[in-house]
Assembly symmetry: C2
Homo-oligomer: 508 residues x 2
């Protein structure tokens, strides 16, 4: 058989390979629709059947990917003379193939069972402020994920292996360097803000706002940013997300009557994700060429729109009049007041998901340092609460009084996700770098944002990021788009300028 | 290998088999969600990706079902000593396995391509009243389906084989006998109605009604009938349907401002389908024991609720006051007027989907006679329009002036569906038979319907039909539920009494 195949026309072999890859992709995309349905429209009692459907689709994807046939085709194609695009597809599938074939099915199942059990236990522990009830579960998850990492690469630092699950092409050292720099430079900046006498307007969006009007406004926002409704839709979900493909990339958001600003920024954030997906090339559908690069790049898109656009002064100059048409309550609010309220830095917030653009990264740094030490074994599970609280005191000058608002606040570890948090900060850093490069190429965007013109900015992102799918590795993509390697320079420059001006800081 | 397996514990073999069957079922149910999504919420441009996802899932189901392994397990289980339930599962899977393995993949693909092409051509031909443009496509589909039938059973009448695709356990002879009887007895009844001097109220629902209020009313209807919202939902779709599983069975409907009655009856019809699905046993999910019997039984459930309940006098006595709360326009309408308007027999309607309970079956008989002769070769495609028009003249006393309102009106043949139409009439006939048996067991339902109590009726259906899934063949199920074989007696008795009284017919 092998010799027969070896004589094959490489382009026929590639076609066979591509068909296989497309199949896997179609099964995964079908699962994506099932998950959207589950979060957005599924009736409450649909779970038992849905869980089985998703588990079946996931094991079919896994079997298709890890089949001997996939390995044979990969080997054959790796020694053939392929175009750059085809080589990229082979590279991406090889990576996934190697990871998935190296972990025994039994361990995958154990992890799946453990995380399924962990979720309700974490939820209850959080509700009851009972870390001890969650500790044994966390212990088990850390051990299982360590074992998992060892299967993939027994010689590597297990945390590095886990991090590369979410961010395969940025090495951990780079991530560490970026996070340390954020910590070292943001701590004094936040201190300076805390010490500042500036009085920002913080209540521009105070009040209670009707859900239906909030939804109409969210649609206005998406209209204004140029969301393609023929390939998308807006719905509500308890935890907003976006998902889909270049043909159908949907946004969800949520409305709380007392948090109008939150629903706007969250809608813009999810627009950024969906807009990236919509920029992937149609003809790449079904292979990595039509799929988004990994978590950091995805997050760079959501943060670029949420922060660099949606929290900018010209955006509020443009958008406040539109918001006023929906809400007469905003009649007396000025764009400047809206801008200030959207950029307030909190000195007493313990919750990551409610953090501002600056303190956010210290929340991440804390989680990163703790999970890295947990996985290496340098930190025992029982010592997590104290380590957490000490770090909050050290970096943010605040100390959680309960674990519910401390180390039990995030869902991630109960999912067995260790190494995920850093990608949030890397995304912010990359957003600033891309935004600066776009401005260098196409001119400063402030004037166009004030006019509601987003086509140039989006055109640059389409051209330099979206259309490439997974053609390039992440460092290559960043280098080609911005002319340099990933760096925190632009992010730090951006926040120093923005917050220096907002809080009238002398040293910035 | 075979001898090793032969020594297996049959219950282990059964478990292996069941896992396989559940997998196939989960893939099919996932595809069902994707189709619901496509009809109800998918953005317009989502089609290219969705088509690929569905095609992948369908070929995965097919491969899992027709794998050698399935055949081996079936053989082994057929010679083992199994419980009645397990034997039923084996029987159902065997039937599907034999059919799908006997048709070459190439022919399946040809049919799939031909129907994909046929649909837009049928649509244009209908719009442009151009049968000649559709004729070659129809010709091709008839030939392909004849070939398809021959693969499955070369010795059988091909139409019979096609019919059994939709109705595997009712033989064609029974269907023919029922349809002939409907034709022979309904033609004179309809003639008598046409000749009657009775003046029914026909305009109780005349007027234009707001969409949102219609939706609220549709929810009232579903509430009143006891729809389980924790396992279902209501949405709109251009062609109403229901789909799902016992954990999640959804209803769609549509609202036209000038057709309030149509939206109510269509909602009740789809409720009947969804309510059947919801009555399937939870523990049978994933195997035929948790799946609905075939098209006629499914249709019996929708028609029972739509006609025997929703078009009954006590229903309107109960429901009109509820409807009046939504629509002040109905203030002066009496329950009797509503009842009469919901049961008007049209003497000039050419369109099946707009037909009343009586003429409906002549629309079906005409299609049945034509498609049977088409498949046998007794009728040439080019002669369809004339045959169609002649039969309308003969049975209904009206003659279509165009093919658009004649033989081009239905989508079914463009899907390659020949043998589907009879199941509609069989469903009505079975509905009457089940309703009579339920009344014999639990007493006449009129009083309870007037009080809005549907639990007894539904309880009987759950007990005698729903909970069995595919445990029994259709004739067994009917015999057990009603004590006799499928018969048109109850339907004819029902319509004679109902319409004899409505139209004051002496002979009835």
């Amino acid at each position: 058989m092998a010799s027969e195949h070896a004589q094959n026309d490489p382009s026929e072999t590639y076609d066979e390979f591509e068909t296989r890859v497309e199949r896997i992709s179609n099964v995964s995309n079908a699962a994506g629709i099932l998950r959207w349905d589950q979060e957005v429209v599924m009736p409450a009692e649909g779970t038992p059947a849905r869980a089985q459907q998703l588990s079946t689709l996931s094991s079919i994807s896994h079997e298709l990917l890890t089949a001997d046939e996939t390995g044979r085709l990969l080997e054959e194609l790796e020694s053939a003379d392929l175009s750059a695009d085809r080589s990229a597809v082979v590279r991406e599938v090889r990576r996934q193939y190697d990871r998935e074939t190296s972990v025994p099915g039994e361990l995958v199942e154990q992890i799946s069972t453990a995380t399924t059990n962990a979720h309700p236990k974490w939820k209850r522990a959080k509700e009851e402020d009972d870390f001890e009830a969650f500790a044994p579960v966390l212990e088990e998850l850390v051990e299982l994920k360590r074992e998992y990492a060892e299967c993939i690469d027994p010689d590597a630092d297990p945390y590095e292996v886990l991090f590369s699950e979410y961010e395969p092409y940025i090495d951990l050292e780079t991530a560490e360097r970026v996070l340390e720099r954020l910590r070292d430079e943001l701590v004094p900046l936040i201190d300076a803000i805390d010490d500042s006498d500036s009085e920002l307007t913080t209540d521009a969006f105070a009040g209670a706002f009707d859900d239906d009007d909030q939804e109409a406004l969210a649609r206005d926002v998406l209209d204004a940013l140029g969301y393609d409704w023929s390939r998308g839709r807006l719905d509500t979900a308890p935890h907003p997300f976006s998902s889909g493909t270049q043909f159908d990339a949907r946004v969800t958001t949520r409305f709380e009557s007392e948090d109008l600003l939150g629903s706007i920024t969250s809608t813009i954030h999810e627009f950024g994700h969906a807009n990236y997906t919509l920029g992937l090339p149609d003809e790449g559908y079904g292979t990595p060429l039509g799929e988004a690069r990994d978590l950091s790049v995805h997050e760079s898109q959501s943060r670029l729109w949420e922060n660099h656009v949606g929290r900018s002064r010209p955006f509020w100059e443009r958008f406040l009049p539109i918001a006023r048409e929906r809400f007469s309550e905003l009649e007396d609010v000025t764009p400047e007041a809206a801008y200030e309220s959207a950029n307030q830095v909190y000195d007493d917030n313990l919750v990551r998901v409610e953090a501002d653009e600056l303190t956010y990264h210290l929340h991440i740094v804390i989680r990163f340092e703790i999970e890295r030490d947990l996985v290496s074994g340098d930190l025992a599970v029982e010592d997590v609460p104290e380590a957490w609280n000490d770090k909050y005191e050290e970096y943010l000058g605040i100390r959680p009084e309960t674990d519910s608002e401390g180390c039990l606040q995030d869902i991630h570890w109960s999912h067995g996700s260790f190494g995920y948090f850093p990608t949030y900060s890397l995304g912010s850093v990359l957003a600033a770098q891309l935004y600066a490069a776009a401005a260098a190429d196409r001119g400063e965007f402030d004037g166009r944002i004030r006019e509601g013109e987003f086509a140039d900015l989006n055109g640059w992102l389409r051209e330099n990021v979206h259309r490439h799918g997974k053609r390039y590795t992440t460092p290559e993509l960043i280098e080609r788009a911005t002319g340099e390697a990933l760096t925190a320079d632009y992010f730090l420059e951006y926040v120093r300028t923005k917050y220096g001006e907002l809080y009238d800081l002398e040293a910035y």
